[in-house]
Amino acid sequence: MAVLEVSGLTKSFGGVQAVKGVGFSVEAGELLALVGPNGAGKTTCFNMLNGQIRPDAGDVRLAGVSIAGKSPRRIWRMGVGRTFQITATFGSMTVLENIQMVLLSHHRNIHDLWTRATRRHADAALALLDRVGMASQASRPCGVLAYGDLKRVELAMALAGEPRLLLMDEPTAGMAPAERIDLMALTADLVRERGIAVLFTEHDMDVVFTHADRIIVLNRGELIAEGPPAAVRANPHVQEVYLGSGSMYGHAGGKTP
């Protein structure tokens, strides 16, 4: 069974149909990229999956259980981790404490008013930081980190909840090109070794074609193409939609996995 199954997902804002009957699925260990020009409905689609927007119609199933319309909190508890387009971490805590915080929540310890928080789950948190290459900065305040490092911390935070599905909104936005490739390579390794399904939106076509196992293309709220990178790139409809922006062809040639 697919980890994530989306069917007939629909949302309108006033008279604008932002998303129309979108359906797709993601398997464990698979990286699925959601792309499309600006205003295609990517963000709306994304926010219906993570619980920030309630869909008008359609269903979202996580391992067969419907999560449509549930709160972000509930969805996270059911095994969906997230990273944000602009990183969201706890600025007044150290890097390690950020991860510990997620572990505390994951293990339902947050109503504990007595034990010392920093003594809980420290080893597990450090192991996660080590895995994303941030162990050396564990005791630094999160508020002073470089942006690329924050992205890594966020990835560790998302993984700390032992998710079955990872939703990544523009995971490499605001990063230097070399850092982008590193972060996505790390993400790909992690999700494959843990059998996590990943859905990500991305503007950088280099990243998409290098790392996505499959790509779905949205335009004006509708799914216009779906398939492996090579097939999507060859799709005349997709070419038509992206023509003019040139972003799909400018410098992506030869990087097909």
Partner: protein
């Protein structure tokens, strides 16, 4: 019919006065994000200045020019405050400027007392508008008609100013997004100064226009500033149109409320505000504030459990405190007892303000509820002290549980004002419900049990309970609960996305803080032997804020230092000078300017105290 019409018109006249003051407050908040407690003082200053000028100049021309001059002079005073004090504080933690404006309130109070004396001053009637007109056979003062017209006229002028001038466009832009406006090269310093001028001018004008209506007195400032805050919050912070609408609604509620509930008009107004805020969390015409993107914002440093040095210092302090009864007499012990009680009160307020990220303007409600929890037990059930000290935190905790449920639905200044509304409601219940609470006669005879009645014994009891309370709060801050609370404050988005129910945690934190404030209140009741409604009045809530902010809201020991410094300043100044308000006000302003992160917050940034990065 005529009666109701006159009542209606009276409400509108009141609304106009309220609007003038509230509009100024709203504009200042919109642009500078400063919660200006001194706004009421400017209103009072406008009234006093207009009184003196009108007396000096005399005649019709003199009267009207006195009002205009008073307004402009008040505007200049606002500019002086901005230049000398506020300008130095824009980079401090949010709400820190509030402390400075509170210092200004104290200074203006004493200066007004020095210049104009304690008596109420009755100003001249407005020339040409002395008499009454008959409306459906009922007399109605002519001057009130002028006021009714003035509200919409000022609203229109402000609209023109905001929509037809370059300055107005800048003000609206800054209200919507301060950082963006700065990024476009607008000189913020100048903009802030001019906004302070216009806002204070409106307050001064509002005050000056009162002289034919009511005697000028020294209590005008606090009364009006609370009402103006209610108007601004109901209308929506930063919205002048909203302020007008809210002023009209509140003016009318007051005019008719006095017919139905003559005793509790103020409560009706606060209830109205509570309902509006629960239904519309950003006021009638307000919008969600753009989140400050932190120009100059210093992220709070991670907290650390005390190391060896800290523990030694804490134990040392406790040893010293325990040894003091051997050295000091009863008076000093009484002052120290009170200081410890206030430290616990401040620590409980800090718990929700710091880690919780919720500012409360009405924390005295829980202090007072605790005191009444003990006092009512004595009065009605003849309960002993131990039972009283158990019932105090329970009583306050239950109150916080009830009010907190509403408060955590809001954030920022709106939340702060809702806490104030609840505090006022509780205060007026205590004040009005003679049969149960004894009203303003209070409850007397709340004395400690025999074993604790010597000063030194009660001192030790307070030391154990207050130090225990402070340490427990500290322990909670370092617990998973405290971390989750801070997580919700740091990034609500991320907290929600990792399964933390921020609102629920805030509600619990509010209740915990209320219970500890209640314990402090209960102890206070036994230390004084009595309970009065003033325990939960606005000044005590403000005291709490001053203590927390003075010490440093971003630190854990700050509130304790703040409580000690504030209480010491307060008691010593009352002892040695008649002008303790002036001295205290100047002291607060100086402390704020010298320690822009609070006393402990600023010291902690000095190289000597800074923790090395591991």
């Amino acid at each position: 019919m005529g009666f109701y019409l006159v009542q209606f018109l009276g409400g509108l006249a009141q609304a106009s006065s309220l609007f003038l003051v509230a509009a100024g407050l709203s504009i200042i908040f919109g642009v500078t994000r400063i919660v200006n407690f001194a706004h009421g003082s400017f209103y009072m200053l406008g009234a006093y200045l207009a009184y003196t000028l009108a007396e000096r100049m005399g005649g019709a021309v003199g009267f009207w020019s006195a009002i205009a001059l008073a307004a402009v002079a008040t505007g200049v005073v606002g500019v002086v405050m901005e230049l000398l004090v506020l300008r130095r504080l824009y980079r401090g933690p949010e709400l820190f400027q509030l402390l400075a404006t509170f210092g200004v309130v104290l200074i203006v109070q004493d200066v007004a007392l020095l210049i104009w004396g304690p008596e109420d001053l009755l100003g001249p009637r407005a020339p040409g508008l002395e008499g009454v007109v008959r409306i459906l056979g009922r007399p109605f003062p002519k001057y009130e008609l002028l006021l009714i017209a003035l509200g919409p006229i000022v609203l229109g002028l402000l609209w023109l100013l905001f929509h037809r001038t370059r300055w107005g466009t800048l003000v609206r832009a800054a209200t919507q997004d301060r950082e963006m406006t700065a990024a476009l090269g607008i000189n913020q310093t100048w903009l802030f100064t001019s906004v302070l001028f216009v806002g204070s001018l409106l307050a001064g004008l509002g005050g000056a226009l009162q002289i034919p209506r009511e005697a000028v007195n020294l209590h005008m400032d606090i009364n009006i500033v609370v009402e103006a805050f209610v108007v601004v919050v109901v209308g929506g912070m930063g919205s002048v149109g909203g302020a007008f609408l809210a002023a009209v609604l509140i003016g009318l509620i007051q005019a008719f409320g006095i017919l139905v509930f003559p005793q509790i008009t103020l409560v009706v107004v606060f209830l109205f505000m509570a309902v509006v805020l629960v239904v519309r969390p950003h006021g009638l015409m307000g919008r969600q504030q753009a989140t400050a993107r932190g120009a100059g914002h210093v992220p709070e440093a991670p907290i650390h459990a005390s190391g060896m040095m800290g523990r030694v210092a804490a134990v040392g302090l406790l040893v010293v405190l325990a040894a003091l009864p051997a050295l000091f007499g009863d008076y000093a012990l009484a002052v120290l007892t009170e200081m410890m009680i206030l430290a616990l009160f401040a620590a409980s307020l800090h718990f929700i303000m710091g880690p919780g990220g919720m500012v409360s303007f009405g924390h005295a409600a829980y202090f007072g509820l605790g005191a009444y929890g003990a006092g009512l037990l004595v009065k009605h059930l003849s309960g002993g002290m131990v039972a009283g000290l158990v019932s105090a935190p329970l009583f306050a905790g239950l109150g916080a549980l009830l009010f907190g449920w509403f408060c955590v639905r809001l954030s920022g200044v709106y939340l702060a004002m809702l806490t104030l509304a609840f505090a006022q409601i509780v205060w007026s219940i205590a004040f009005q419900w003679y049969a149960v609470t004894g009203g303003d006669n209070g409850i007397l005879g709340v004395w400690p049990d025999g074993w604790a009645s010597p000063r030194w014994a009660f001192y030790y009891l307070s030391l154990v309970l207050c130090a225990g309370g402070v340490l427990m709060l500290r322990r909670v801050i370092f617990s998973p609960f405290g971390y989750a609370l801070r997580a919700g404050r740091d990034s609500p988005l991320r907290a929600d996305a990792v399964g933390i129910d921020v609102r629920h945690l805030q509600w619990l934190a509010f209740t915990v803080a209320g219970a500890f404030a209640g314990l402090a209140g209960g102890l206070y009741a036994y230390s004084k032997g009595s309970v009065f409604p003033t325990l939960m009045a606005i000044p005590r809530s403000v005291d709490g804020l001053v203590m927390v902010l003075l010490g440093g809201v971003q630190t854990l020991t700050g509130p304790l230092v703040g409580a000690a410094v504030f209480h010491a300043l307060n008691t010593e100044m009352v002892r040695y000078t008649d002008h303790w308000r002036l001295t205290l006000g100047v002291a607060i302003v100086l402390l704020v300017v010298i320690f822009p992160q609070g006393i402990v917050g600023t010291l902690a940034r000095l190289p000597f105290f800074r923790r090395k990065e591991a």
